[in-house]
């Protein structure tokens, strides 16, 4: 009887110990995954103002975006009139762009994946490989902070060996209610390359969501791209035929 209790207790202790060893990494990964799921929702529709700022010029455009899960998304520019109806479709890892002026859909070849999307500080890769952060990296929690009275997890993400990612490290700040506060991209010498920060967290589309996203190169402080959500609504489901090449060419909504 006694020995049984002891052995059970030992077993329990062992299990707890295992959990303790195993859990931080596991925890960090679930945190990142949960954060992604929260920010993306199941499906979403949004209308966003994008400001591309450079030392001697600034450009503004407005686009509409539909997303479904992590895999599918479609973007279409609504303003200014010059760029109206330019669109980008993303399905899985593949991307297509549509230019109404030449009435052509182009499947982005690998050579264009690292180019800037619509001239911004986001690259096509940033859009098409968003989910690589979850699977290609090992995440660890390095500390916690408080922000607006809520706990913020600082997460260090190191790419798994052999993973096809260019970064040497990423650092994430995720609030306990799953809101992303910052994502920092480092090169292999652990020097900061670019930072994405979110600002003005407020109720948007029925949940707390950052209204402003800013992507900034580390070396040039006066070069950034800012996304400002005008409208955002999360939906349970969007039709699959929204994410097709024909819809990219001829919007039917």
């Amino acid at each position: 009887m006694n020995s049984k209790v002891i052995s059970t207790a030992a077993l329990a202790l062992f299990a707890v110990a295992c959990l303790c060893i195993d859990s931080p990494a596991q925890d960090a990964r679930t945190l990142v995954k949960a954060g992604f799921d929260y920010m993306r929702g199941k499906s979403s529709f949004s209308m966003v103002d994008m400001t591309i700022h450079r030392p001697d010029w600034e450009r503004k455009m407005t686009f509409e975006a539909w997303t479904k899960g992590l895999k599918n998304s479609i973007f279409r520019i609504v303003a200014p009139a010059k760029d109206k109806d330019n669109g980008t479709l993303k399905k899985g890892k593949e991307m297509w762009t549509y230019n109404p002026k030449v009435n052509r859909v182009i499947k982005l070849p690998p050579s264009m994946m690292s180019q800037a999307w619509m001239g911004s500080d986001f690259s096509n890769n940033d859009l098409s490989k968003t989910d690589s952060l979850i699977d290609d990296y090992t995440h660890t929690i390095t500390g916690t902070r408080t922000h607006d009275g809520k706990k913020v997890y600082l997460i260090k993400s190191i790419p798994k060996p052999g993973a096809p990612v260019v970064w040497g490290m990423q650092k994430l700040k995720i609030r306990e209610d799953h809101v992303f506060l910052a994502q920092e991209f480092y090169d292999e010498d652990f020097k900061l390359v670019k930072v994405m920060t979110t600002l003005q967290i407020q109720m948007l589309g029925g949940k707390m969501f950052p209204k402003v996203w800013r992507m900034q190169k580390a070396e040039a402080t006066d070069e950034y791209t800012e996304l400002n959500y005008k409208k955002l609504s999360f939906k349970e489901n969007l039709r699959d035929n929204l994410f097709t090449i024909s819809n990219l060419k001829n919007p039917r909504r």
Binding site: K93, E94, P109, P110, S111, M113, S114, G162, A163, P164, V165, V166, W167, G168, F185, Y186, D187, E188, V193
Partner: protein, 407 residues
């Protein structure tokens, strides 16, 4: 008697003879030296072209040249191998490769490159890469993550040996294939463009990245001592079906190089003519002067019974002697210059950017072609004698009366 007469006549006005001789020396020297310089450049360009992954002969799938994508690979290398073993001379080397366009990127930069999957050991005997490693080490067979890039690319990417490089390309399913490699070494090439263009991985790594089972993009063949590639190519063509394979010699693969060489030939020819025209006028002028100076003498000779033909012979012999002496000195000087520069070469680093544009390497070793030497000498002697005919004929036409009236 003619020889003695001509020889003494030449040295009657030794300064004048020396001047015209110097003109001939410089002309001959510049013809030989410049053509040696051009040939050196030409040889270098061919050598560069062939060793920069071209080889003397290449075999591709027949659509590959027009559309160098992974779908156009050759899928039965074994058949090719047997054909190669049958046709190639035993001293020839060959290597198979996978070659596709790809994008290399790291955290800060990205650029389009040519990804070359190689068999490290045979490749070292075929192209420049085997002894071009200046940093780190060469690929080992079966290395799945190592990549070798050019020094210039490494500098452009602000990275170093040991760091990661992500490559993206299209795989056989037409999807985007990406794979991370670690830079294990860098190579130096004659041209910066080459350093920026090529990145080498093992053929097994390239196959895995591109989902290619055992296909290859090309076979490159090196023949010993740059032997003529055409007979071997013809032999391969009879062995391999033209519906499946395209066999090309370097002349067909590098048409620009071929055009360059033709331009060089033309340039050397034009240079010969220009030099000769300048020299020819000098010769005519001096000989004419020498003839007019001796008008009375020729008149006297005529009066003594010398036939016009003999006078022509005499004047021509004088020019011939000047030409021969000038040519011997010019040849000697040119060979000395070439010999002096043969070891160190002519360093063009000061004009590296311009030379690079033309595809010329930084140091040029002059190369003497015996054909050029013979042609330049023949040109000088024959044309030299031809232009001297005019003053000679003039001298032969003097009559004793005219000559005596001329004071």
């Amino acid at each position: 008697m003619y020889f003695q007469l001509a020889w003494r006549n030449i040295w009657r006005n030794s300064r004048r003879t020396a001047v015209i001789m110097i003109a001939i020396v410089i002309g001959v020297w510049s013809m030989i030296f410049l053509s040696a310089f051009m040939r050196g450049m030409e040889y270098d360009m061919i050598k560069n072209g062939i060793s920069t992954l071209t080889g003397n002969i290449q075999i591709h799938q027949k659509d590959y040249i027009n559309d160098p994508v992974i779908e156009n690979s050759m899928h039965s290398p074994i058949k090719l191998e047997t054909a190669l073993k049958k046709v190639l001379p035993p001293v020839a080397h060959w290597a198979s490769r996978i070659r596709v366009n790809a994008i290399a990127s790291n955290a800060r930069h990205s650029s389009s490159i040519t990804l070359v999957g190689i068999n490290p050991i045979p490749e070292a005997k075929v192209s420049f890469i085997g002894n071009a490693i200046n940093n780190g080490c060469y690929l080992k067979p079966g290395d799945m993550r190592g990549i070798i890039v050019g020094q210039a690319l490494l500098n452009k990417f602000e990275t170093k040996v040991g760091h990661k490089l992500v490559l993206m390309s299209q795989d056989t399913d037409q999807e985007i294939a990406s794979r991370s490699f670690r830079i294990i070494g860098t190579f130096k090439a004659q041209l910066q463009a080459t350093e920026k263009q090529f990145a080498f991985v093992t053929i097994t790594a390239a196959r895995q990245m591109l989902k290619l089972k055992k296909g290859i993009s090309e076979i490159s063949i090196i023949l010993p001592d740059n032997a003529d590639a055409n007979p071997v190519a013809t032999g391969l063509k009879t062995e391999l079906s033209a519906d499946l394979y395209q066999i090309q010699t370097w002349q067909e693969l590098l048409p620009i190089l071929n055009a360059y060489i033709e331009i060089f030939d033309g340039f050397i020819f034009i240079w010969f003519i220009v030099v000769f025209i300048a020299m020819g006028f000098g010769i005519v002028n001096t000989t004419l002067m020498a003839v007019f100076e001796r008008m009375r003498e020729f008149g006297l000779l005529k009066a003594l019974g010398m036939k016009p033909w003999w006078i022509i012979k005499d004047v021509l012999l004088e020019s011939f002697l000047i030409l021969i002496i000038g040519m011997i000195i010019g040849n000697l000087l040119a060979f000395l210059c070439v010999f002096a520069l043969a070891q160190s070469g002519i360093d063009l680093s000061a004009f590296a950017a311009g030379a690079e544009f033309a595809g010329i390497s930084r140091i040029i070793y002059p190369a003497v072609w015996i054909e050029d030497v013979i042609i330049s000498n023949i040109v000088v002697i024959i044309l030299g004698l031809l232009v001297s005919l005019y003053p000679a004929a003039k001298a032969a036409r003097f009559t004793p009366v005219e000559a005596l009236m001329h004071t």
